[in-house]
Symmetry: C2
Subunit: 185 residues, 2 copies
DNA sequence: GAAGATATTGTACAACTGTTCAATAAAAAT
DNA sequence: ATTTTTATTGAACAGTTGTACAATATCTTC
């Protein structure tokens, strides 16, 4: 790996963090970021398509961390409601951990891209649970049901975002388990 | 109302439709739109903040149409599962009706704003159903459950978008009613 | 350490953005 | 029909974008 590339990437990522402390992502310009990062603007375009490209790199790592959080204490045997609870609450702890980032991700002005990244991550998790619980049954859940379930969970995150992340992860998890296990409407 | 303003608005909205036929929303510039609309660029900024401001106006009307679709055949009495089905399917018919617009709304590059507009519209509807079904009970559903339910429905729309709107509204509604009435996972 | 590979820089370009201002045109009010 | 109000225009501004190129600096490899 070329040291120059590594250094450039570091400067850019660091500059983004600096700028995010004073203004919203959508107001940050490439020119400004390059001035902070002390790199040529042309160099920026050699590595990223635009400002969102930088943030996306960051968010990829965050989503990766979520995947680890969920699957770290994965119990092969006897996945009951208790284990389900233990896994689900990881999602809320994760969002709380990276709250400043999710404030950006769920912002009105920000592209759907990041929502989809989180969605796909949680969806994989939901699909695994579903296939695990329904093993033996020949009919696996249709894609629509997986997306239905996944986005339901994300609905809680949206509400959480809107109320300003006041509710505790524990209480959110209590809600979630209740919504999942009880009949709806 | 000033005729000049009305004429300007018409020109701008019409120009957006023309440009949307040849390129994605995110690639349309204010300058280009003003050339098509044959208005001064300064005039544009007198009425809209940016290109998204124009699209938002359009989408407001579309969301308004959804509200009408849902509440048009509203049955005051005896809202059973059959009536619920009749109301829910309106959502799918609506999205199908404005498919080209929802292709934009659900696009990766497009701001969350439009997703939230649709979300709030459906959320109002879900909240009404919930309070209707649970009337008598002193405890009304918490905000988290309404958002959970609402976004679950939108999960079906997201999946629908991803598969290219192949599935029929009738089948989607069949899925949805099944997901709502059956116990989850 | 020298040679080769390649990342970075500086400069330039046409196009777009968002804003300002006086001048003009067009509508509304009388 | 004239006056008043106000929307639109044209021009200009500093700043941004995305791209291109030759010149330079820096890293890797041998």
């Amino acid at each position: 790996m070329d040291l120059r590339i590594a250094k450039t990437h570091e400067s850019i990522q660091q500059a983004l963090l600096v700028l995010l402390k004073e203004k919203p992502l959508e107001e940050i310009t490439v020119s400004e970021l390059c001035r902070i990062a002390k790199i040529n603007r042309g160099t920026f375009y050699l590595h990223y398509k635009n400002i969102h490209g930088v943030f996306e790199k960051y968010f990829e790592e965050i989503v990766e961390d979520l995947k680890c959080s969920i699957h770290a204490p994965y119990h092969e045997i006897d996945q009951g409601v208790e284990d389900l609870e233990a896994d689900m609450i990881q999602i809320f702890h994760h969002v709380k951990k990276y709250e400043p980032f999710y404030c950006i991700v769920f912002d009105e002005q920000i592209p759907m891209k990041y929502y989809y990244m989180l969605f796909h991550s949680i969806r994989t998790f939901v699909a695994e649970i579903a296939s695990f619980l329904q093993k033996g049954e020949p009919l696996n859940l249709p894609d629509f049901q997986i997306s239905y379930q996944t986005n339901a969970i994300m609905g809680i995150l949206l509400e959480w975002h809107q109320e300003g992340y006041v509710t505790s992860p524990a209480e959110l998890n209590w809600y979630l388990i209740r919504f999942i296990t009880e009949r709806h409407l």
